[in-house]
Amino acid sequence: MINTRFIVPLVVFVTLVFFLYQGLFSDPRERDSQVLAQPMPTFSLPDLMDPSVIHTNKVFIGQVTLLNIWGVWCVTCAIELPYLTELSQQGVRFVGLYYDQDLDPDFGTKTLARVQQEVTDTTNQLGNPFEFNIFDVYRDTSLDLGVTGAPETLLIDQQGVIRVHHIGDINPRVWETKFAPLYDELIAQGVSQ
């Protein structure tokens, strides 16, 4: 009798401590992406630099691509650009999904020429990893991808299926742990086929 009197509260207490202790290290912002293992949502969007060119899902077929969602207004994007450029020089294919913060689709007054100028200035200064930039004018494709802000990066395989969805910047540590193993595997598969 005396044993259960002490053991029951002790077990409850230890469980509670363990539960709360875990909470200290959990990231409330961490969520499972809904687009993993899904094909890239259907889109048809203009090129940022040459709006007469329309990009569709075909741009992802046959090559392993990193789709980087970014904008010049995004501070963290500016920090990761040099490293992305370094990776692109090693042969990694980067495509940008560009969206503008100030360009309100319904009430916007900013001209496309000014957006292009800002992008050119930024990439001249910090490096340009992108083969081209897709201009997500209405930010619809970002919404379809479950993007909450910039920067975010998706790893898309040769079949156009999203394999990694990373929120935040890419630095050497993130690349080594989250992207490189799968990227190398996908490249090796492509070569053997």
Binding site: Q34, V35, P105, L143, D144, G146, V147, T148, G149
Partner: protein, 158 residues
């Protein structure tokens, strides 16, 4: 002094002017009701504890625009919720579904309640007649003795 007051008034006025309003026009009253309800029920994925009606984050602006678009295209409440859930997960709705994880939020309070009830029922009822302990008896004897002593003293005085 006048300059300071004038500046303060100017500042107060300017902030209220800066607060821009989004104007959405609806064809029917039902659409407006749906829009209000949906933007209150959908949670901003960026700013955690705000719904998208409340939040000024860019993503909340975009989601409001999308909700408006979907409603005017004739989607009903559930269709819009499903649309957002497909993209942002169950997190985006303030009414989470019962899953293997969330079921505990329902089970735990009820099990604590049942446990409490069980303990109450199982506890031995207190027998009032036999509950007077030895110490109580001693105490009663002491009192009797004291009263007797006091009465003896009173008698002596008289």
């Amino acid at each position: 002094m006048k300059i300071i007051i004038a500046t303060m008034i100017a500042l107060i006025i300017s902030t209220s002017v800066m607060a821009t309003q989004e104007n959405y026009a609806f064809e029917t009253e039902q659409q407006r009701v749906d829009f209000k309800r949906l933007t209150a029920e959908l949670r901003c994925p960026m700013c955690q504890n705000q719904n998208i009606a409340d939040s000024d984050a860019m993503i909340a602006h975009d989601m409001r625009r999308k909700v408006y678009q979907l409603i005017t295209q004739g989607n009903n409440h559930d269709q819009v919720i499903d649309f957002m859930k497909q993209r942002y997960g169950d997190f985006v709705h303030y009414q989470p579904p019962v899953t293997n994880t969330t079921i505990w939020l329902w089970i735990l309070p009820f099990s604590v309640l049942l446990l409490g009830g069980w303990i109450l029922v199982r506890r031995k009822p207190v027998d009032i007649n036999n509950s007077v302990s030895d110490t109580d008896k001693d105490h009663a004897n002491d009192q009797d003795a004291l009263i007797a002593k006091a009465e003896a003293m009173l008698e002596k005085d008289q």
